[in-house]
């Protein structure tokens, strides 16, 4: 479970002064939810996601993940938390270009010191499941964009995290690949995986169970999705 209490985040503005990216945001995300955070560019969506993920310390407020105050931990503790309890999925995939698909997916498990054989077995299971088994020895540049994003999702799952944080997961994909990724995220959620995603895509947002809308760093809407209401 993720609890966000009155979180604020300010940045120094280029011309002097400050920009408030988040302004007293409070949010509670339960186990097994699929939450879409939507809003215009600059509304604070990604900042909120990275703050939830222990990557960007808030200037005020608290973030609690499974009872642990994230920013009470030191840098090493937060790195361990990201490694073990959070899976990140990025718009630009962010696969390590010099590693093969298999090695990219194994990487979080290797960082968690799970042992090479165990990490490889876990990564292979995920790649087979996501239809990338025969692409395991390919480098990211040799994959299609859809395959890269599926590899990114596989990587986020390899340490069996409590929550997946996805930043515009379909933002760089063609409609067909985007459809596959959305279906995959929904399937994972139906299996009990908690997922928080940031998106511009209204259709994708309505595939979630809950939609949170931000404007100027504040939550202006928090409602069940159309799909949820319809079901």
């Amino acid at each position: 479970m993720i609890e966000i209490h009155e979180v604020s985040r300010t940045f120094a503005a280029p011309g002097g002064g400050e920009v408030k990216a988040l302004d007293g945001v409070s949010l509670r995300i339960g186990q097994g939810e699929l939450v879409a955070i939507v809003g215009a560019s600059g509304s604070g969506k990604s900042t909120l996601l990275f703050t939830m993920g222990g990557l960007s310390a808030p200037t005020g407020g608290r973030v609690v993940l499974d009872g642990q105050a994230v920013y009470d931990l030191d840098q090493g503790g937060r790195a361990a938390l990201r490694r073990d309890a959070i899976g990140f999925v990025f718009q630009t995939f962010n696969l390590v270009p010099y590693l093969t698909t298999l090695e990219n997916v194994m990487l979080p498990a290797i960082l968690a010191k799970r042992g090479r054989r165990e990490a490889e077995a876990g990564a292979m299971r995920l790649l087979e499941r996501l239809g990338l088994g025969d692409r395991r020895h390919h480098r990211p540049a040799q994959l299609s964009v859809g395959e890269r994003q599926r590899a990114g999702i596989a990587r986020s799952l390899v340490n069996d995290p409590g929550v997946i944080l996805a930043d515009e997961p379909t933002g760089n994909l063609d409609p067909e690949s985007a459809g596959h990724v959305v279906a995959l995220l929904r399937q994972l959620n139906e299996e009990g995986q908690t997922i928080v995603l940031v998106t511009h895509d209204a259709d994708l947002a309505e595939q979630a169970s809950r939609v949170v809308r931000l404007r100027a760093g504040r939550i202006i809407e928090d409602r069940p999705s159309m799909r949820k209401l319809a079901s």
Binding site: L55, S56, R82, F90, Q91, L99, I110, R155
Partner: protein
């Protein structure tokens, strides 16, 4: 650390272009530094390696001549066996740079009893005077020796040895003075880098019917090269080390600028700052080590080109090469360390969207 090392080597394997270029730069600078050092060390060893006299025990030392005095007794049973010169050559083999077989005796020259040295390479009919003897005789144009007047061709440069008080003539003429062939001293000059103690042991172990007397001073040529190199050597090596560090530092900065998204990704998926730091440092260290090793090997070849009298490989050579390779690796780590630390500590979130 294991994960960082694994990542560093996977990256070097996958995209080693710039690393290869940096390693080549390191290798070139290291080769120059290593070559220079090996020549200097070789000459240093050579200067200390002269084995001054494989011959009978000294029995007479003229007044004013130091403990390593040259003059021998009147000839008799004290000559070296005829095969001694060939034996010395065979025993020392590739370690031998130069060998001078000489006949040293004691004679009255212009009223003074001094060492007379018959040496190869001296023109017949003339005498070369040691600096001290020339001074004592008032720089004469001729000297009397064996009932003959010998034109003085030149005065030898002072060496600080007993030879300063000697007269040098052609070997055949010295032999004619005593009416016998043969020699009673073999001067041995080892190649740079050849271990002198081992050479002495080998000569002593052989049955030469001779005594091996290690000399107190090296050959003037070795000392000159050694002296010239010792002045600029550390400065040149310092400049080369700075060049290596600069090259590796530039590589680390370029890598860091290009790989911000990768660093941000690593941190996002749970790599600690230490893993990120070590990945970058290990890469630079590996480049430094590879370049340094290649440079050390090339330096050995270069030293042979720079100094023809240079050595078969000695312990000092291996140590120098090892130090060059290790030093380059250390420079690699030091050059990348600060930028890696900055990357590992910096807020990486803005880099995440760079993909």
């Amino acid at each position: 650390m294991r994960t960082g090392t694994w990542l560093a080597f996977r990256e070097l394997r996958a995209r080693g272009g710039r690393a290869l270029l940096a390693a080549a730069l390191v290798a070139a600078a290291a080769a120059l530094g290593c070559g220079l050092e090996l020549v200097a060390l070789g000459r240093e060893e050579a200067a200390n390696a002269r084995i001054d006299g494989v011959g009978p025990a000294l029995r007479v030392i003229p007044t004013g001549v130091s403990g390593t005095g040259l003059a021998r007794l009147d000839l008799g049973p004290e000559l070296l066996p005829a095969e001694a010169v060939g034996q010395v050559e065979a025993i020392l083999g590739a370690d031998l740079r130069e060998l001078r077989a000489r006949l040293v005796l004691q004679r009255v020259v212009s009223g003074r009893t001094v060492p007379v040295i018959g040496a190869p390479g001296v023109p017949p009919g003339v005498a070369l005077l040691g600096a001290a003897l020339a001074e004592a005789l008032g720089h004469p144009r001729r000297v009397d020796l064996g009932g003959r007047a010998w034109p003085v061709q030149s005065v030898q440069e002072a060496t600080g040895t007993a030879e300063d008080g000697a007269v040098v003539v052609a070997l055949a003429e010295a032999q004619a003075l005593v009416g016998r062939g043969g020699v009673n001293e073999v001067q041995v000059f080892l190649r740079a880098g050849a271990p002198p103690r081992a050479a002495v042991s080998r000569l002593q172990a052989a049955t030469l019917q001779a005594r091996v007397v290690p000399g107190a001073r090296g050959a003037p040529a070795d000392e000159e090269v050694q002296g010239a190199l010792s002045k600029g050597r550390y400065l040149a090596q310092g400049v080369l080390a700075v060049l290596i560090a600069l090259g590796l530092s530039v590589m680390a900065h370029l890598d860091a600028a290009e790989r911000r998204a990768e660093v941000a990704t690593l941190r996002a998926i749970g790599a600690g700052a230490d893993t990120v730091w070590w990945t970058m440092v290990a890469r630079s260290l590996a480049v430094g080590l590879a370049g340094g090793t290649a440079g050390a090997v090339s330096g050995l070849a270069l030293s042979a080109l720079m100094d023809q009298g240079s050595a078969p490989v000695s312990a000092a050579t291996w140590t120098t090469m090892l130090l060059v390779a290790a030093g380059c690796a250390l420079l690699g780590a030091l050059a990348a360390g600060p930028v890696a630390l900055a990357m590992a500590r910096r807020d990486s979130v803005p880099w995440l969207q760079e993909g």
